[in-house]
Structures are given as structure tokens and as C-alpha cells.
């Protein structure tokens, strides 16, 4: 039984939401909010349905032919549903947050319209059943995020948007080339295909490697791997919910997820190891991890520091992918989710500080824990998770990655992990320290840069609760990782499917 409508409906939810939002006038705030939330909730329900179907062993597929030999395929497989689940969950949180964040701002219609499109693209990426479909949504994502990045319309934002496009479009073009070459070599190749590309190994070894480099090179731009990361810190001028979404689910994750698809579902992990590309990828990821952390230490503003942290963290996923063995895979998969949760928390909090107190620089954060305790707790949870301390979800990831590295006989990766954890501690602990242990305006020393009283609580409820929720989920994902349908459990399920077909 094939419920083809399910992936299609899931995708259509957010596209429809985008269309309706574009059609609504700018002023109808309530209706737009309602549609946003309804679409987000219904998408979560649909994804939950898909999760149920997948766990029963179905793979719902929707496909039609575009031209001869090229199909448009949406398929709900375990890996895709995992990413879809993350994006739909965080979409809800981010939508709520964005509604609060943009209260009274201009151009909300455009913002929410493209926001929905952005999520639709992410979902399409998650559910894409072959490389062609993936490419479609991958590029759609680039386009739909551009208006979000330049939303503020300032010169800085516009410049950032230009840089963003330069990087991502070039990456997209390289990806396109790789895809076309692959199609020319092998024809339409579904992600669900069992046989991988191994039959082509003997005759086309060099070509396969070249295609791999092109594909992963194109994806690495979005995954912000060094030296293709330049757009990410600049894109920080976007509004906080956008940064949160870009960093947690949409853009960087799309790149990382794409690399996963390439290695697991297209080439097959054995073939990738055989080609020797995984080692190169692991080295690149390690360089990114260390470089990102080092650069993060040098930042004096909160959002750029988080941005470099993202650069570092997303490469954990890539690192995990490049480790041969189930543990590395589980680590990569689970980090995809965990990093999303934690990073989104951190960005929500950063946005809260900026909105409520006008804090942008780290040295302005002294004693903010007293003024905004819940936000600060959420931030602390996210920061500790990034360091990889238990019980936050980051620990689980780091653990699996480390074990995966050991099993793949790449001991140096453990060194990288430990070094990265230490570096993470070096740049996150000072912030936490400032929040809780320094005395600042809340204790009567000095003043906040630009304080607003946005709500009855420490800040506007729409801003506060998403951050608290994601922080709680981050802890929950770590503390109760053994529960069924937890990120770890689902990642294990996917990995088992990968290694024991």
C-alpha cells in the first residue's frame, strides 16, 4: 500500500501556506498568524503520520516523469522523515518565535511567505527521492532564503545577501554539474536503489571520484565547510528567527543532509570508503571543526560567535558521515537533529537578548542571567550541549562520533573531538560565566544598551517559550535518549537500515 499523497501533502502544506500568505494583504496579521500556525501544526501531524508509516516499514512514494529518464520523486524513507521531523518541529518553534520577533515590523507578509517557502524547500530536500528532485529543492532553498537574509534592507544586509548568493549559487552550479555528470553516467538513480554505484567502479573510478568531489563540493558550500564558509557569518545580519532557521535546519543542514544522501544512498558507504573519499572528507571536516572553533573564540559579538560555532558543529555531521561504521553514522544522523535543537535555542536566546536588552556584544552580557533567567538558562543549556556536556543532547552525539572514529581506526578524530570540545568550552563558558557570575546592569552597574520591556515575563512570551521549549527538548533528547522515537533511536534505526539492508 503506497500512500503517495502523504509526502505530497506534507510538502504542499507549507507551499500552500506560502501562497496564501502572499495573497493575504499585509495588514491581516491575525489571519496570517493563524495560517502559519495551522500549517505548522498540520505539518507536524503529517510528519508524525509518516513516522508511523515508516516505522511500519512502508516507503510512501510519489513520483511522475518530467522528461524521459528523469523523474520527480518524493519518498518518505527513514532518513528523510528524520530530517522532515526536525524541520517541521523547528518550523513551529521558529514560526512562533518569528511572530513575536517581528511584532510591528515591516514587510511581514514577504517574510512569512518566503519563510514558508524556505521550509517547504527544506522538506522537499528531506523527502527528495533522487538527486534531481533534491537539486530542485536545494536551489529553491537558495532562492527562498535570499529575501530572508536581506530582509532588513540595509546596506549591510544587502551586501551579505550578495555574498550569500555568490557562494550558494556557485555551489549550486557545481552541484548541478556533478548531478548531470552522474546522470549521464548512470541514468536516473534513486536514493532507494539497493545496488549503489558499485557496478561502475571498475570502469569509471576516476570519474566517480570527480563526480563525488563535485557533488560534495557543491553541498559543502551550504554546509559551510572551510574554506567555503564565508557566507555564513555575514548572513548573521538576518533577523534572529532567520538565523536560527538557517543555522539549525534549513541551509547548513541541507548541505549536510545532502552529503549524507550522497554517501549513504547514492554512492553507498562501502564504495565511498573504497574510493578513499571518506578520509578526505573527514580531514576537511576536522579542519572545519577546529577552524570554526578558533575563529569563534576571536569573535566579540554574540551572533558571529554562534555562526562560527555552527560552522564547526555542522561539520560534526560530515565527520560522522565520513566515519565508516554504524556508530559514526548514528553520530552523524543524531547530530543533525541535536545540533538543530541546540543551535536554534542559542539563536532564539541571542535574539531575545538583542530584542529585550539590545545586547549584541558578548561583553554586554554581564549579569543578564538575573534580568532574563529563563532565557539565560536556555542559553546555558544550549551552550553546554554545544560543548558536549551531558545531559544535553550534544553529549550523545559526541559520544557516538568518538566511538565511530575509534571503530573506523581514525584515532586522530578523537583528538579533534576532544580539542573541539575544549575549544567550545573556551568560547561558550565565558559567556555563561558572564551571564551568571558577573555583575552587570541587573545588579545596578551600568545600563543595558537598549532595554525594552516587551512582556509581562522577562520578555515577550512568543519569544520566550520557543527558546525554553527547544532547550527542554535538547535536554530531553540527551537525558532520555533511550526512549523509542527519540532522535537517537530513530538515528539508530536509519543506521541499521544502512548497514544491515
Amino acid at each position: 500500500m503506497n500512500a503517495a499523497w502523504l509526502p505530497l501533502a506534507t510538502l504542499a502544506t507549507s507551499i500552500l501556506a506560502a501562497v496564501v500568505i502572499f495573497l493575504l494583504p499585509e495588514e491581516s496579521r491575525r489571519l496570517r498568524t493563524g495560517i502559519n500556525l495551522a500549517a505548522a501544526v498540520s505539518k507536524i501531524i503529517l510528519v508524525a503520520l509518516m513516522v508511523g508509516r515508516v516505522s511500519q516499514g512502508y516507503q510512501d512514494t510519489f513520483s511522475f516523469q518530467i522528461v524521459g529518464g528523469i523523474d520527480f520523486v518524493l519518498r518518505a524513507d527513514a532518513l528523510g522523515v528524520m530530517f522532515a521531523g526536525l524541520s517541521s518541529l523547528l518550523w513551529l518553534c521558529t514560526t512562533i518565535y518569528a511572530i513575536g520577533y517581528l511584532e510591528g515590523a515591516a514587510n511581514r507578509k514577504r517574510f512569512f511567505g518566503f519563510f514558508s517557502l524556505c521550509v517547504a524547500s527544506t522538506l522537499g530536500i528531506a523527502l527528495a527521492g533522487n538527486l534531481f528532485t533534491f537539486l530542485i529543492f536545494y536551489e529553491m532553498l537558495t532562492l527562498s532564503t535570499y529575501p530572508l537574509v536581506v530582509h532588513a534592507g540595509t546596506a549591510k544586509a544587502l551586501a551579505a545577501g550578495r555574498v550569500y548568493l555568490r557562494y550558494t549559487l556557485t555551489g549550486g552550479v557545481v552541484l548541478l554539474l556533478g548531478t548531470v555528470m552522474l546522470y549521464s553516467l548512470t541514468g536516473d538513480h534513486s536514493f532507494a536503489s539497493e545496488r549503489g554505484l558499485a557496478p561502475y567502479l571498475n570502469d569509471h573510478r576516476g570519474l566517480l571520484t570527480l563526480i563525488f568531489v563535485l557533488l560534495v563540493g557543491g553541498l559543502a558550500v551550504k554546509a559551510a565547510m572551510v574554506p567555503l564558509h564565508g557566507w555564513l557569518p555575514r548572513a548573521m545580519v538576518a533577523p534572529a528567527p532567520v538565523s536560527a532557521l538557517l543555522h539549525a535546519v534549513a541551509v547548513v543542514k541541507a548541505g549536510a543532509f545532502g552529503i549524507m544522501r550522497i554517501i549513504y544512498d547514492l554512492y553507498g558507504i562501502e564504495l565511498s570508503v573504497e574510493l578513499g573519499v571518506t578520509t578526505a572528507l573527514a580531514i576537511a571536516a576536522s579542519i572545519t571543526i577546529i577552524y570554526g572553533s578558533l575563529r569563534a573564540i576571536a569573535q566579540h559579538e554574540l551572533k558571529p560567535r554562534l555562526a562560527f560555532s555552527t560552522i564547526s558543529q555542522v561539520s560534526y555531521v560530515v565527520l560522522g558521515v565520513s566515519l565508516f561504521g554504524p556508530f559514526g553514522t548514528i553520530g552523524a544522523l543524531v547530530h543533525l537533529l541535536h545540533q538543530g535543537l541546540m543551535k536554534v535555542t542559542l539563536f532564539f536566546c541571542a535574539g531575545n537578548y538583542a530584542e529585550e536588552l539590545g545586547i549584541h556584544r558578548i561583553d554586554e552580557m554581564d549579569g543578564a542571567g538575573k534580568r532574563m533567567p529563563l532565557t539565560s538558562i536556555a542559553f546555558t543549556v544550549g551552550a553546554l550541549g554545544m560543548i558536549g556536556l551531558p545531559p544535553v543532547a550534544g553529549f550523545i552525539t559526541k559520544w557516538y562520533l568518538g566511538i565511530g572514529a575509534i571503530q573506523a581506526d581514525m584515532y586522530w578524530v578523537v583528538v579533534v573531538l576532544v580539542a573541539s570540545s575544549t575549544l567550545n568550552a573556551l568560547y561558550f563558558l565565558p559567556i555563561v560565566h558572564r551571564l551568571w557570575f558577573r555583575q552587570g546592569p541587573a545588579h545596578g552597574f551600568g545600563e543595558w544598551p537598549k532595554e525594552q520591556r516587551l512582556g509581562r515575563l522577562e520578555t515577550h512570551g512568543w519569544l520566550l517559550w520557543p527558546a525554553v521549549f527547544t532547550a527542554m527538548v535538547s535536554i530531553g533528547a540527551g537525558l532520555l535518549a533511550g526512549l523509542p522515537f527519540s532522535p537517537l533511536d530513530w538515528a539508530t534505526r536509519v543506521a541499521i537500515g544502512e548497514y544491515l539492508p
Binding site: 518530467i66 515591516a106 536551489e139 529575501p147
Partner: protein, 496 residues
């Protein structure tokens, strides 16, 4: 290869109804154009009503084609044989012509109402009618004489339309266009003279059977190629294109960029296909020029400050994509699969570009009309005030950039696949460069439009039909990306 152009024997004779439909297809646009000159409609509704029968003829022909396959007509008029045929390409391009033409016509009343151009505006209608008829004839014509006549008719109508705005710049550009177009047709005629003198055949199908490679074929091909390349604004001969669009009316620009230059290109492709069945270098030469065109057009568009120049220069680059496909379609020793892919890619790119460019011109026209400024800087803040026009511009530019899921993407995909299969890496690079350059100039527009720092106060409100028509075109170009097999299926059915 000639079967792809429908130059083969037909299985069925056309029914009597089909004759009438054909006649209506060719005559109705002129007729309605004259009516338009008489009544000069100020509203969209009558125009829409008039468009319906024309579109209906196209649909009827399509149905006929799908039932009977290739259709041929041949008449003797005073000793001269006129032959037409309705093949896959013909019907496809006919439909595109009619629909884009209808869109331009629907756009026109709103545009005229807002711009108030004066008396000469009424001449737009008959010229448009003639243009559509001539174009339809070009797609259908199967002999060199008809082609020549239709080509000339189209050229003159196009010049006339472009001149209508009456500005000095328009006159000057129009003059250049006129002279070059006339000379171009004479070069074409010179080639035809050689063909006629050597083989004594004007009928394309008969010609295809007797043609053999030799100096006459080569020189004729060179002359025809040069003339048509000038008319089609292929790369080094494209100079007249931008100024023409700079000052023309929006619907005229839309029609011109979407269809007129394509018609010359179509003839060029078809005749070279017949004359040079096994030549390698000439198509390669065109392909190299095409690569240059992609880069050059992109650069010019990128550095231009005026919105219309940008859009017009982008046509040069987009034609480059079509030129690059030449060696794949014409050249010898191309395996069937890449050939078929390139063929499909060529037409999809052509159609996609026609739709998207028309939409883009309309969107650009709307923006210019609303802001009252034609420079890019004048767009500051439009993202807030004119989101719909900008969205249309964006949708159209997605197609031009060749980003998914637009028809431009699918076309580019097909072309790329064909090129990769035949190892034409330079062309691949040029195509990809084209994407980036297109993105560069398109997003320059957006960068200005997203600028919130420059507040503006007065915007001219637009007629809803203007945006809706453009939106429909842009969406069509967009949707063809995923529904590409619908038009491409027509191509494959062409009288195999």
C-alpha cells in the same frame, strides 16, 4: 534529422475543417488587428474575447495534429508552389506564439491606458496582428519562398511596432534595425538564389532530398546563416537589439524578444540542418560564438544601469544557450541520445525563454511604469510597494537563471546532459557560467529593490491585468520545468 522539422511525407490528408482552421490561424490575427485599429480597445475584455478564437484555432490544430500526425498542404498559385506543414515543432511554436501573443495583447490595453501614447497607438493592433500571422506562417512554411515572405513581413511589422513609441532614441534604434533587417534578408535571399540556381528547388522537403555537400551548399549556408544571424541577434551581430528594446513599448518588447528573434533562429537551424548535414565546424563556430554570447550578454546585463537594457542584454545571453546547442543538433557523429536530449533542450529553452522573457519585460515595464524611473537605482524600496511585479520578475528570472524547478532548469539540464555525453566541456562551463552571470544581474535588480533606506512616496498604480498577464506567463515558464514532458511529447510525435 529533417524529420524532426516535419519535412517528411504525411500519412493523412488534412480534413476540410483543418483547411479552414489553418486559414483562420493565419488570417484571424490580421483581421482582428485591423479591427483593433478601427476601434482601438481601451479595456481588456474585448481583447480577451478576440483572442479566444485565435487561441481556439491553435488548439484545434493541436488536436488535429495529435490525431493525424504530420499534416501537409500544397498549393499552386500562379505557377508558384506554396507548401505548408504542421509538424511537432510547428504546432508547438504556433501555440507558444499564439499564447504569448495573446498575453501581449491582453497586456496592451492596460499599458496604453496608463501611458497615454497618443494617436499612433492604434497602429499597434494591426502590426501585432501581422506579426502574429507572419510568425505563424514561419512555423508552418515548408518552402523558401513562403519563409522569405513571412520573414520579411515579420521583420517589417516588428520594426513598425518598435517605432511606435516615437521617441528619437526609438527612431534611431528602429532605423538601425530596419536597415540591418533588410540587409539580412537580402543575404538570405542571396543564399536562396544560389540554392535555387543550383538545385532549382524551393520546397524544403524536396531540397533536403537533393542537397549534397559542396561549395554551393556551403556558401549558401554561409550567406543564409549570416543574414539570419543578424536578424536573430546572434552574438557579434546583436548590437541592434538592446537599443531597440530600450525605448520600445513593453508589450512590443515582450513579443519581439520572445518570438521574433527566435523565428530567424528557427529558420537558420532548419536550413543549416538541410544544407549542412555533415558539417562540423560551422555549428561549432556558432557554438563558440554562443559561449561568448552567454558571457558577453551576461556581462553587459550585469553592468547595465537601466532595467530594460538589462532585460534585453539577457536575451543575447539566452540566445547563446540556443547557439551552443547547434553542434549537438546539426553536427555529425552525435549519438542519438545526446542528439535527442539537445533537441528537446533546445526547444524547451526556447519556449521557456519566450515565456519568461515576455513575463520579464512586462514585469520590468510595470516596475518602470509604476516608479517612473527606468534605472535600477529607481527600484529602491519596490519590494515593499510593488511586491507582485517584483515577484513576477523573480519567477521569470528563475527561469532565465535556469534554476529549478523552472523550464530553464530542465532545458539546461537536458543540454548539459547532452554536452557531458559528448564531452563538450567548454560548453558545459559556458552554460554554468551563464547561470552565475544571470544570477549576478538578476539579483542586482533585487538588491536595489530590497533597499529600504531610500523612501519613495509616489507610485503609479497599475492595472491588475498587467500584473496578472505577466504572472501567468511567468508561472507558465516556471511550471514547464516540471511539466516538460507535455511540450516535449509533441516534439517526439513529429511524423516519425
Amino acid at each position: 534529422m529533417t524529420w524532426r522539422f516535419g519535412l517528411t511525407e504525411a500519412t493523412f490528408e488534412p480534413l476540410w475543417l483543418t483547411h479552414w482552421v489553418l486559414a483562420a490561424t493565419l488570417a484571424l490575427p490580421i483581421l482582428f488587428g485591423l479591427l483593433g485599429a478601427l476601434f482601438s480597445p481601451r479595456r481588456t475584455l474585448p481583447v480577451a474575447l478576440v483572442c479566444v478564437p485565435i487561441l481556439l484555432t491553435g488548439v484545434l490544430l493541436l488536436m488535429e495534429y495529435q490525431q493525424a500526425g504530420l499534416l501537409r498542404w500544397q498549393w499552386q498559385v500562379a505557377g508558384v508552389t506554396v507548401s505548408l506543414r504542421l509538424g511537432g515543432v510547428s504546432i508547438l511554436m504556433l501555440l507558444v506564439t499564439q499564447w504569448v501573443g495573446a498575453a501581449a495583447a491582453l497586456y496592451t490595453p492596460g499599458h496604453l491606458r496608463l501611458t497615454n501614447p497618443g494617436k499612433q497607438a492604434r497602429w499597434l493592433w494591426p502590426l501585432m496582428g501581422v506579426l502574429i500571422s507572419a510568425l505563424s506562417l514561419i512555423w508552418l512554411a515548408a518552402d523558401l519562398l513562403t519563409l522569405y515572405a513571412a520573414l520579411e513581413l515579420m521583420g517589417l511589422a516588428a520594426v513598425g511596432m518598435l517605432l511606435l513609441s516615437g521617441k528619437p532614441a526609438a527612431l534611431q534604434a528602429g532605423m538601425r534595425y530596419l536597415l540591418l533587417a533588410l540587409v539580412g534578408s537580402l543575404a538570405y535571399l542571396l543564399g536562396v538564389a544560389l540554392i535555387l540556381g543550383y538545385w532549382g528547388q524551393l520546397n524544403l522537403q524536396a531540397l533536403a532530398e537533393v542537397v549534397e555537400p559542396g561549395p554551393v551548399a556551403w556558401i549558401a549556408a554561409a550567406l543564409i546563416g549570416a543574414g539570419l544571424a543578424l536578424k536573430a541577434a546572434l552574438f557579434p551581430l546583436h548590437g541592434w537589439l538592446t537599443p531597440v528594446h530600450e525605448s520600445a513599448w513593453t508589450p512590443v518588447s515582450a513579443l519581439h524578444a520572445a518570438l521574433v528573434v527566435k523565428a530567424s533562429l528557427f529558420i537558420l537551424l532548419m536550413l543549416w540542418n538541410i544544407l549542412l548535414p555533415s558539417s562540423l565546424f560551422a555549428p561549432r563556430f556558432v557554438a563558440w560564438l554562443g559561449m561568448l554570447a552567454i558571457v558577453w550578454g551576461g556581462l553587459v546585463a550585469w553592468r547595465s544601469d537601466s532595467l530594460k537594457t538589462l532585460v534585453a542584454s539577457s536575451t543575447v545571453a539566452q540566445l547563446g544557450y540556443l547557439m551552443v546547442a547547434f553542434p549537438l543538433i546539426i553536427g555529425p557523429d552525435i549519438p542519438p541520445l545526446p542528439k535527442a536530449l539537445a533537441w528537446e533542450g533546445f526547444w524547451l529553452q526556447l519556449i521557456g525563454h519566450a515565456l519568461a522573457k515576455a513575463a520579464m519585460f512586462m514585469a520590468a515595464g510595470n516596475l518602470i511604469l509604476a516608479t517612473g524611473e527606468s534605472s535600477l537605482k529607481g527600484l529602491a524600496g519596490t519590494s515593499r510597494r510593488l511586491p507582485l511585479s517584483l515577484l513576477i520578475f523573480g519567477l521569470a528570472s528563475v527561469t532565465l537563471m535556469g534554476l529549478p524547478p523552472s523550464s530553464g532548469f530542465t532545458a539546461k539540464w537536458l543540454l548539459l546532459q547532452a554536452m557531458v555525453m559528448t564531452q563538450q566541456w567548454v560548453a558545459v562551463v559556458a552554460l554554468l557560467m551563464g547561470t552565475l552571470l544571470t544570477a549576478a544581474y538578476v539579483f542586482r535588480v533585487f538588491r536595489y529593490s530590497f533597499d529600504e533606506t531610500a523612501p519613495r512616496h509616489h507610485y503609479q498604480p497599475l492595472a491588475p491585468s498587467m500584473d496578472l498577464v505577466a504572472l501567468a506567463l511567468a508561472l507558465a515558464a516556471f511550471a514547464l520545468g516540471l511539466l516538460a514532458h507535455l511540450p516535449l511529447a509533441l516534439l517526439q510525435g513529429g511524423g516519425v
